[in-house]
Amino acid sequence: MVSEDKLREEVKKLLQEGKIKYFIGYENGGPGWLARPAFIQQPEAVSRLIWSPGCVHNLTRFLQDEKRRRAREKNPDLRPVGLIVKGCDSRAINVLLQEKYIERKDVYLIGVSCELLGVVDEAKITRRLYPAKPLQVRFGAKETILVLTDQGEREIAASEVLADRCLECPANFPLVADIVLGEKINRPNPQPYQSIASFEAKSLEERWAFWQEQFSRCLRCYACRSVCPMCYCDECVADSIVYAVSADTTAEEKAQKVKWVERNPEPQENIFYHLVRAIHLAGRCVDCGECERVCPVGLPLRLLNKKLEKEAKALFGYEVGLDANSPPLISCFRDNDPQDFIR
């Protein structure tokens, strides 16, 4: 069991000793019943920190903000940022290290083991408890989730309400961390590609029709991109005018900049955006599931990412985020590449 007291104690010590600049964890409160990210700057504020099945967010995403802040400031505080990482989040750290987006000394990681549980799927809980409304979630004993509702407390088997990605998780334990809370318990028989199995059985036409229908709904609010720890590009192909402009950039250069994706939300533009993003995440997506969780119109984005994850494994034996010292999939080349066009 992960001890919240131990977590608070560790963070308090780190802040008191000035070892970290600030700490990113989770707190209760806010407009919903899931946890929300908390930025702890003062040792006294550690009492806000919690660990619960509502701690869904992948906090490594906020390292982008820190990196931008450092670039902006004249004399930036270079101490590490402390943060909580679950197993999936720790794989994101490994990818960021592989890509040299961050250095190991930039972060102080408190790993938490999900043990045999994980985090919940908001919609599954809401459906399961309707018409009772959830107010807060806690870990129960023996693989259950305790939900405090407006009609009293309910205990639900975790398998019914955990996020799909947790049910399929291949590594429910932090792979990189400075301290780890909780025990390392391997999940028996994880089925990492369960969610795409039935989808893969469909015909090409059926799959195409499915995606056309799904993407026609996209609002291009870019929440999937914004929440993604891997979508850290300063210049994104999906934005119309965000590209590197210097004092020497001429008007002609600006005018001739190719607009790859129009801003209108017609299906062909939406599909282009999502496919670019999916391909860009191949060999990088750690399946934290945040893109799918935050989508306000319910696009099943994990399906795309899982498929590419599976392809990377089948074609190159590559598994994402397991080793910070191995070269990233997309930027390395091997003599024994299975496809001869590249050799």
């Binding site: 409160g29 806010g30 407009p31 919903g32 899931l34 946890a35 929300r36 990210p37 908390a38 930025f39 967010h57 995403r61 906020f62 903000d65 931008r68 902006r72 919609a123 309707y130 018409p131 409304k133 609002l219 291009r220 609010c221 870019y222 929440a223 991109r225 914004s226 929440v227 934005d239 119309s240 005018i241 965000v242 402009v245 210097s246 950039t249 008007a251 600006k254 129009e262 801003r263 209108n264 939300p265 017609e266 945040e290 969780r293 935050v294 989508c295 306000p296 119109v297 319910g298």
Partner: protein, 327 residues
Amino acid sequence: MKVFFPKKEAFGWTLTEAAADGAIPSDYSYAVVPPKKLIFPQEEIFFEFQQTADEGLQLRETLPELPPQVIVGVRPCDGRAVAALDQVFSGSFEDPYYWRRRRATILVGLACNTPPSNNCFCSSLEGSPSSEEGLDVLLTDLGDRYYVRGLTEKGKELIRAQSSLFSDPTEEEKKLRNKISQEGAQKIKRHLEAARELPPKLKTMFDSPFWEEAALSCIRCGICTYLCPTCHCFDINDETRALAPLKGRRVRTWDTCQFPDFTMHSSGHNPRPNKAARLRQRLLHKFLYFVELYDRFQCVGCGRCLDLCPVGIDIIEVLSKARNHGA
């Protein structure tokens, strides 16, 4: 005539073209994408252009031509939001694209017997669960029938056209309707105290470090603004489809202050360079600039931005803290 009706999808409710042949489902909350989408669509084609050697440059106007559309199940807050949009798109310039759609639209509201969201706070912002502003008809669910009020000429006409379906309300029904309205208001859980005190306070806070702190967890996505029933910022682009001969169209699309390219200058300079400045823009537009311009809030308390924010940013909490900031 087209009818849009609440439909339940896995991710929430939509307003979808349908035959309205039954009651609005009792578990209907609100449409995730607000009805503004049907009046101020995410994409509006202004005109098409083409240039040929023979005929030079030609423009073809593409003003929307649409049959009357009836939107059923509009929550009173969303009706008030449309009234706010009406003010934005009129005044010294009347936006023809907006008004063509608006005039073809009949808004059939549904009073909230219980708040559709835990985060509803319309009553803090001069609204109520039975507000009539912006709507053409207001329905109140009395259990086995609706109490129906025609509010505008368009709404009354809709009722007259099907007069056999309606009967005059009894005194009892009137009482029941009033009781339900009062109870609906009492069930609202969230409150933003003394909202009218906010504009003068916010006016002093433009340079405050408060915004940096408030925006720490913001991921700068467009959810809070795209799904806001009153947000109306837009971008205009020329979409070139072919170069020789030149062919394309000018398109208006939704834009949002939360995106990094919003108001970016061609030099690359952006007056709102970070997410703190962008959060400030969102709240100041709603609770200061709009109040100065139109003497009303540009927030109707629908609760969507609270319900749907990926990181739990709570506009009520942020505004309450702002009011007490430095006090």
